[in-house]
Amino acid sequence: MSVQSNVEVHSEWGIVSARQAGRNLAKELGFGGVDQARFTTAISELARNIYLYAEQGEIIIETVENSRITGVQRGLKITARDRGPGIKSIREVMEDGYTTSGGLGAGLPGVKRLMDEFDIDSVTGEGTEITAIKWLR
């Protein structure tokens, strides 16, 4: 059975709740300390981007499974969805240091490195959906 948690993000409190939900699920699933921190930090980055660039949106965290020859692999998936301005050039935002807000510009490339799978789907003027998975080792 898959477990799921949805958090609305429209203030900084939403970022904190999304992180908390993520940390709890990661603990429950048996992630180690470092991976818990990686997973929680990735949620924090995506939730903050929603708050900063799209004003509001949602973070969905759910368990996922993958059948391998060696058995069933379990993991956690983050979906960050908003109806904000969208991202014009995905190639650009994935470069380290690219920022439109005077930030560090390390969020999105950082999330990609923190997680095992990463995907951006964005349409300018319509919104952005970013998904990322961390597998349990």
Partner: protein, 272 residues
């Protein structure tokens, strides 16, 4: 208040007090926010205060209400107890003066007019008093929170520590910067240790704020050392691609303090 009006009210002194006490109990019996002990004693005091201040000069009367209200508010009595009590006094008077035919109507009218003004004056004063003390409390709590959320503590001469515990949001990041820069000047710190042991998540925003804070510290002529980076936090910072090599870091607060002492040409020695 006019002597003739006071005389008129005082002629009904005992009856007014009796009715007021009767009705105030009814009025407040459903109010669960009211402290139950001292209820009767307080009512007694309140009604005697009302009657007693009628003949006083305005400033003197206000002073007495002020000290009465302040004492009760500190004990948790709600503002509505005072406003209801004053309105009840007016109502009791109106009932009494209008139901008795032996009073001259002109006199009754004059009395009620005076009482109306007097009651309004007292209520306004109590409300001002109350919101004033409430705003004051709020202000103090904000100050306390500000100091608690990013305190800079002078641990040795020239060395200060800022222990950060909990989530860092934009508001708090501002406080960190302010308190750091103000505190460095105030304590004449040469070395500041920022301890992030208690920060649950260090994402790029938190890292950015810490980097900016430590650069600002350097600009005012002090040295900033980051301590308490837990192993899992060190890992995620590296994954995020943030290069902290430019910033002095120490694994523990203790090592940070040792470095701070070295930087200020001192060290801890054992005397045995």
């Amino acid at each position: 208040m006019k002597p003739s009006v006071i005389e008129m009210i005082y002629s009904q002194h005992d009856e007014i007090i009796r009715q007021w006490k009767n009705e105030v109990t009814e009025l407040n019996q459903f109010d669960s926010t009211l402290p139950t002990n001292w209820f009767h004693e307080t009512n007694e005091e309140f009604v005697n205060l009302i009657m007693g201040t009628l003949e006083l000069e305005e400033n003197e009367a206000k002073e007495q209400f002020r000290s009465f209200a302040e004492r009760l508010m500190n004990a948790g009595w709600p503002l509505s107890y005072f406003t209801k009590g004053m309105q009840l006094f007016r109502r009791v008077l109106v009932q009494m003066l209008t139901s008795d035919e032996s009073f001259e109507s002109e006199k009754v009218f004059e009395t009620l007019n005076e009482v109306e003004k007097w009651v309004d004056g007292v209520i306004n004063q109590l409300v001002d008093e109350y919101t004033g003390s409430w705003e004051n409390t709020l202000h103090l709590q904000k100050l306390a929170l500000k100091e608690l959320s990013a305190p800079l503590i002078p641990v040795f001469e020239k060395i200060s520590v800022m222990p950060l515990v909990g989530t860092i949001d934009t508001e708090r990041a501002k406080l960190i910067m302010e308190n750091l820069l103000e505190g460095i000047i105030e304590h004449r710190s040469q070395v500041v240790l920022i301890d992030i042991t208690g920060v649950p998540v260090v994402d790029t925003m938190v890292a950015h704020h810490i980097i900016q804070a430590s650069e600002a510290v350097r600009l005012v002529g002090a040295e900033c050392i980051l301590v308490g980076i837990r192993p899992e936090i060190a890992q995620t910072i590296i994954n995020l691609g943030i290069d902290l090599r430019k910033f002095p870091t120490k694994s523990t607060l203790r090592k940070g303090i040792e470095t701070g002492l070295e930087l200020t040409q001192r060290k801890i020695i054992s005397t045995s």
